[in-house]
């Protein structure tokens, strides 16, 4: 065989680009992946990355194309995962950006500190948590992740490291918090942790028969709990539409534990029990299989239960017990549709849920939560209102359906979430985030040539 010209150019070190995609496994693109371990490594890539630019990537739990950069460089930050300083009295930790929340919990739960905010998975990095300004079940009392960051070190395109925080160059800080890696590379951060007395949560569970009763219950009781979230059956129709299981809880005090657990209240363990093989055909999840699953799930939940002790993984990260669960959607992948609508527009939320239910685009369960106040993050997602998230396999006709729903959401002042997005229309995105121009102005200041860029940035013309 004669030598074949490779389809893609190799770089000076003879590496070839690797195809990357997000958690939804849609729209992969190739990029040169640089595994970095410290600031010097990052600087080296920054010096080489001209033309198609670079973006940092953590554990790739963004559903869409946030951590992809077609034809350019992508920094794999997970090797930069050291703990640099711990202040037990103040419950503060200083860490490199590539450290995962999983590791933070393993290290610090036994010392009586929990991460200030965790999403539904613990497999996200601190850098990613800031860049997406993630939220969790405690948003209504604690806000989002960036609100617990005292400062962060940002390497910008000019090679400078800026230490920024809510009172140190707040513009750059609040452009970086939620800025999806487009202002520079987050190298380090100092994070305020949450002091806990035990590694157990006390959980109240309620089954509600429909959406109205769920929303009423959430509105009336949310403020009594640190954490709350509801799972909605989106396949149920008619009178049962919106039937859900609501769980609310808080960390247990040591004296609330049963005697045998009081000896070692901060004992924490977790593990991935099984991993999903990559063999699922497209279309496995359909209305029939999903209805059956949802029926089972709804019936096995208690109708009303109080003060049930649950471990951290059970309460916060139920899906992390199954590795690579995104594979069950098959090779075509899936999207997660997450939107928020302001209070007072519950009808829009209901219509969105109804349209998706009746479209037959089966989605397992939807997650509903009430957000508290937003923060000054220019592209930060949370704002006062309801947030709904649901997974939908990629099927034909979905683009049009979601575009229509976006229009209804934007009409009432709602928005979609960049960490989940893989398909919103650019001009609608601009309407959802009225502070986009401020974000662009900060980016123009610190990165006039657009060195930091991603597929998401190109797709949405950020």
């Amino acid at each position: 065989m004669p030598d074949r010209t490779p389809a893609v150019p190799l770089d000076a070190a003879g590496r070839s680009p690797e195809p990357l995609s997000g958690w939804g496994r849609t729209a992969p693109t190739p990029a040169l992946v640089d595994r970095v371990h410290d600031e010097a490594d990052v600087r080296k890539v920054l010096a080489e990355a001209r033309g198609r630019g670079l973006v940092a990537r953590g554990l790739a739990r963004s559903y869409g194309d946030a951590a992809q950069n077609a034809g350019g460089h992508v920094l794999d930050m997970t090797g930069a995962d050291r703990v640099l300083d711990v202040d037990l009295a103040a419950a503060e930790v200083e860490v490199e950006a590539g450290i995962s929340l999983d590791r933070l919990m393993n290290l610090f739960v036994p010392l009586g500190m929990f991460v200030p905010v965790t999403p539904g998975t613990r497999y996200v990095t601190v850098g990613g948590a800031i860049a997406a300004d993630i939220h969790g079940k405690n948003h209504h009392v604690a806000g989002s992740f960036s609100q617990h960051v005292q400062w962060l070190d940002l390497l910008t395109a000019d090679g400078q490291v800026h230490r920024v925080g809510p009172d140190q160059d707040p513009d750059l800080f609040w452009a970086t918090a939620g800025g999806m890696g487009l202002t520079g590379v987050i190298l380090r951060a100092r994070v305020r942790m949450k002091p806990i007395e035990s590694a157990q949560t006390l959980v109240d569970t309620d089954r509600t028969p429909d959406l109205d009763s769920l929303m009423t219950l959430l509105t009336e009781t949310d403020h009594l709990y640190d954490y709350s979230v509801a799972w909605i059956d989106c396949v149920a129709k008619g009178a049962r539409m919106g039937r859900s299981v609501l769980t609310r809880g808080r960390f247990a005090r040591r004296d609330e534990l049963p005697a045998r657990k009081q000896a070692d209240p901060l004992r924490y363990s977790q593990s991935v029990k099984v991993s999903v093989p990559d063999v699922f055909p497209p279309g496995l999840l359909n209305v029939v299989t999903v209805s059956a699953f949802n029926e089972l799930w709804y019936r096995k939940s208690p109708k009303r239960k109080r003060d049930q002790l649950q471990s951290i993984p059970t309460f916060f990260h139920p899906l992390d017990g199954v590795g690579a669960w995104n594979r069950i959607y098959g090779p075509r992948g899936f999207v997660q549709y997450q939107v928020t609508v302001p209070f007072g527009h519950e009808e829009t939320m209901r219509r969105v849920l109804e349209r998706i239910s009746s479209s037959g685009h089966a989605s397992f369960l939807a997650v509903l939560k009430r957000f508290g106040e937003g923060n000054p993050g220019m592209l930060s997602y949370p704002s006062p209102g309801w947030t709904l998230a649901l997974d939908i396999p990629v099927v034909s006709g979905l683009a049009r359906l979601l575009d229509e729903l976006d229009e209804q959401v934007v009409e009432v002042g709602g928005r979609t979430y960049l960490a989940k997005d893989s398909r919103v229309r650019p001009e609608l995105f601009a309407r959802m985030y009225p502070r986009l121009e401020e974000f662009r102005a900060v980016r123009a200041r610190v990165d006039p040539d657009g060195v930091f860029t991603s597929d998401l940035a190109r797709r949405l013309e950020l």
Partner: protein, 251 residues
């Protein structure tokens, strides 16, 4: 970027005033507003098409392209991508020619081959180079069933399409793994300004039907589509028809 659900953000139409190119842009615009770059000669029709597409919601850019000018493809692609990546590039220029004239006029044959084959493969080479660098994108080449088996009534045109079809089919394999893909579209007889005044062949189709097939083919990541779909089986039959019989068919 082509997004997770196959929606397209920017479209380059090379030969942007052809009926199929315009129909494709319109078909995409039914879904979403997008950036359209019209590459064509500076004519009144180009201005008119630009105006129509703007009215339909597109952000339109116009760049010069002349298939008879060897330097034109590089300039055109550079200008078309100056304002951002191109997600889908449709290579839609070509001439049908008058077979009776072509049979006796070497200059006319050379001119047709230049436009339909030489320019088409030069454009394909330049586009592929640019898309490999950007790491994503789809090139759509408008071939023709006429290239599947040349026939007496238009073998010059058929031969140019056979050549460009082979080029883009091979290009599709050569870019595998680069993030770029190539779709070869083989329409039958299309009722358009190119075929004005000619009697329609069986299974004749429309620019709108071709546009529909292009959009669906890009979304599904296909490598070849026939329009209408039945053409695939018809041509498969014709390809295997004994020559003595094929020559006598009223095609």
């Amino acid at each position: 970027m082509i997004d997770a659900l196959g929606s397209v953000g920017s479209l380059l139409l090379v030969g942007g005033t052809s009926d199929i190119a315009v129909a494709t842009a319109r078909r995409y615009l039914q879904e979403r507003p997008l950036r359209v770059v019209l590459a064509a000669r500076d004519t009144e029709r180009r201005s008119a098409v630009a105006g129509q597409l703007r009215a339909a919601g597109a952000t339109v850019e116009v760049v010069d392209f002349d298939a008879e000018d060897r330097e034109s493809p590089e300039r055109m692609v550079a200008e078309a991508t100056a304002g951002g990546d191109v997600d889908v590039a449709l290579v839609a220029f070509g001439l049908l020619g008058e077979q009776e004239q072509l049979a006796h006029d070497p200059d006319a044959v050379a001119a047709l081959a230049q436009v339909n084959y030489v320019a088409a493969v030069v454009v394909g080479t330049v586009l592929a180079e640019r898309m490999r660098a950007q790491g994503h994108g789809t090139i759509v080449a408008l071939s023709s069933v006429a290239g599947e088996r040349a026939r007496a009534s238009n073998y010059v045109y058929g031969s140019t399409k056979a050549g460009m079809d082979a080029f883009y089919t091979g290009l599709a394999d050569s870019v595998a793994g680069s993030g770029v893909s190539v779709l070869v579209v083989r329409p039958g007889f299309v009722r358009s300004k190119m075929t004005e005044g000619l009697p329609a062949a069986p299974l004749a189709t429309t620019p709108e039907a071709v546009a529909e097939a292009v959009v669906a083919g890009v979304r599904k990541g296909r490598h070849t589509v026939w329009v209408p779909g039945a053409m695939r089986w018809v041509m498969s039959g014709l390809r295997h028809t004994p020559r003595a019989l094929f020559r006598r068919l009223p095609l």
